[in-house]
């Protein structure tokens, strides 16, 4: 067990080092950082001063080491476009993305489980067939089209909800939150639905198929024979046993929610890190791209590691398998 954990952690560190190498290579070799930072009018002294200041006059290995050293401390240099510390910009933007991701994750989880249970119980009902068909269409649609559709419906036609931005935000220390104002909450609705819809359908389909599997088991029939209420059977006996795979998938999907937030944030001009990243690509702002890459890899690798370890903790069968290998 301990062996497995150590091996898994070492693997994760290795992945991060490789991603760090990619990020460093991007930073160092894509275009000339000096060219990017200084405009047309520059003197040789400027170039030399900046070169020394950025440490570009040292060997590549020293530079990689210094890059990693900086990255660990959250220091990714200065944005080419905004001329400010990248870490500062990201710290400003991250609450928006995390709040959006949290709300859409919650939306996906609650509605996904609810609809999954519903469609499994009323297996051949009209409503559940309609939901299943709709979900198929929802999965095939690109996220940004769903976003545009929602904007058209609720902002342009009905005028109920705002179509862009976060509304009013309240500053709590360094964290800016949209949870405390009405306009902030209203602004959250459309982006969270857009972002969470795909995950919702995924969870719904998973819960449905797991529920159908479980409802066929003998202990459910026995519970029914005992005369338990249908509600108690469905929720207390059946749903509980479907939750392990749901937790795994939800955990892994957390990463993709943050990645797909890039698209949603662009559609709704949501001032989060995803929009920052897209703008960075458009303007080839390499330090911001590198920082985003590192940030998101740490999240992804962390989530994967946590899910793997949790899985081993939950399911004893995996533990013995790990030993026999």
């Amino acid at each position: 067990m301990l062996n497995y954990i150590i091996r898994r952690v070492l693997q994760s560190v290795l992945v991060l080092l490789v991603v760090g190498l990619v990020a460093f290579a991007m930073f160092r070799f894509v275009g000339d950082p000096i060219d990017n930072m200084l405009g047309q009018e520059r003197t040789m002294e400027d170039v030399e001063r900046l070169r020394a200041q950025l440490g570009l006059d040292q060997s590549v290995f020293v530079q990689y080491y210094r890059f990693l050293e900086g990255a660990v401390q959250g220091n990714f240099g200065i944005s080419y476009r905004q001329g400010r510390q990248v870490s500062e910009i990201i710290a400003e933007r991250i609450p928006a993305t995390l709040e959006l991701a949290a709300v859409s994750g919650l939306f996906a989880l609650v509605l996904g489980i609810g609809l999954g249970v519903f469609t499994a119980i009323r297996r051949d009902g009209f409503a559940s067939n309609a939901i299943m068909t709709l979900s198929l269409i929802g999965v095939s649609l690109p996220t940004f089209l769903i976003g545009i559709l929602l904007i058209y419906l609720f902002s342009v036609e009905l005028g109920w909800l705002p179509s862009f931005g976060r509304g009013e935000v309240v500053q709590l220390g360094s964290w800016s939150t949209g949870f405390l104002t009405q306009s902030g909450l209203l602004a959250l609705i459309l982006p969270s639905i857009t972002l969470g819809l795909y995950q919702m359908t995924l969870i719904m389909r998973l819960v449905r198929s797991e529920m159908l599997e479980v409802l066929r088991q003998d202990y459910i029939r026995f519970a029914r024979a005992r005369g338990l209420k249908q509600r108690a059977i469905n929720f207390r006996h059946a749903l509980k046993n479907t939750l392990v795979p749901v937790i795994t998938v939800t955990g892994l999907q957390l990463g993709s929610i943050i990645a797909f937030a890039i698209i949603t944030e662009t559609v709704f001009q949501w001032p989060g890190v995803g929009l920052l990243f897209i703008n960075a690509i458009q303007f080839v702002d390499i330090p911001v791209m590198a920082a985003y890459l590192m940030l998101i890899s740490v999240m992804f690798v962390g989530i994967n590691l946590a899910v793997d370890l949790l899985y081993v903790a939950i399911d004893p069968r995996l533990r013995t398998e790990g030993k026999s290998q």
């Binding site: 992945v15 940004f144 797909f260 890039i262 662009t266």
Partner: protein, 317 residues
């Protein structure tokens, strides 16, 4: 009678079609209205993209034929200044929306097909290599695949696009954007192919025909390409169809986000990006028609892929 040719060219081609029609897959196709409709839609879209220059009433990229006065003409209505009318209206620069959609479809489909082809070639070769050679090669290839699979494909494609954009000089960026897009989407998608091919290769490798080929001294390359490859291709077909739908959506997404096809060579995604700007000012058709085309395309290819997966999957039969 003996000297009549046994298999003349034309009947043979027909009989092949007939064989396909009578096969299990053909049977499943005949009994699936969804598959038939989506195949028809896909074919219509592909054909209209291929013959776009013949079908399109205007050349949207020839400035000589454009008239700015035609801008913002509503679908089917005559323009107030020039009296010209357009089937699906015009955009802000007076380009015929119907024609831009046809040309956009061309670019979307081209990028989609090319990206999947690239991913397929890369994935199949690496998968074969990993499965057949094994050892150190396999470890490296599959490790890279695992790491890449941790990240969503669209994110990988964005990063590759961003880096490529940084490497190319500014004056060439728009020209190479389409190719960069193909490479970015292809590189983000090879893992699926490599995994499946490797798995199938591992199974095939231990079979007798491979041992026989090895005994008679065929080179490893010949064994991989001529003996194993034909036997691992059928799952690849399913993945390719599903990948095509994903690649089309990925391309549209990237172009919509402004990190894909440039406005000089607009794909459906770029057109939607342009159209979104007019959503609030009432010119709905600039957004609506490209969005609908993309929707139908994505849905049709997706459903086709789903059907093919079910039809070819022996477990479900």
């Amino acid at each position: 009678m003996t000297d009549t040719p046994i298999t003349p060219e034309k009947p043979r081609a027909q009989s092949r079609l007939a064989i396909a029609w009578d096969s299990d897959v053909g049977y499943s196709f005949r009994h699936s209205p969804v598959a038939m409709v989506s195949l028809c839609l896909t074919l219509i879209l592909v054909l209209s993209a291929v013959f776009a220059p013949l079908i399109a009433p205007h050349d949207p990229f020839n400035p000589a034929t454009l008239n700015l006065l035609n801008g913002f003409t509503a679908p089917g209505e005559a323009n107030a200044f020039t009296g010209e009318s357009f089937l699906l209206g015009t955009d802000d620069q007076g380009r015929d929306v119907f024609s831009t959609i046809l040309y956009g479809l061309r670019i979307s489909l081209f990028v989609g097909f090319a990206a999947v082809a690239f991913a397929m070639v890369l994935g199949i070769s690496l998968g074969l290599l990993a499965g057949y050679v094994g050892g150190w090669t396999e470890t490296v290839i599959m490790r890279v695949a695992d790491v890449q699979l941790t990240f969503p494909a669209i994110l990988v494609a964005m990063l590759i696009f961003g880096v490529a954009k940084g490497i190319t000089p500014i004056e060439y960026r728009d020209q190479v954007a389409i190719w960069v897009l193909i490479i970015a989407i292809g590189l983000s998608d090879w893992v699926q192919f490599a995994r499946v091919v490797r798995g199938a290769t591992l199974v095939e490798k231990s079979k007798e025909y491979v041992q026989a080929a090895r005994l008679i001294g065929r080179s490893p390359f010949a064994i991989m390409a001529r003996h194993i490859l034909p036997n691992v291709l059928s799952p690849v077909l399913v993945i390719a169809t599903i990948s095509l739908a994903l690649a089309i959506i990925a391309e549209a997404t990237l172009s919509f986000l402004g990190v894909g096809a440039p406005p000089t060579q607009p794909s459906l995604g770029t057109l939607i990006r342009i159209g979104q700007g007019f959503l609030f000012s009432g010119e709905w058709w600039i957004l609506f028609f490209p969005a609908c085309t993309l929707l139908v395309l994505a849905l049709a290819v997706n459903l086709l892929g789903d059907w093919l997966r079910d039809a070819l999957n022996p477990r479900l039969r």
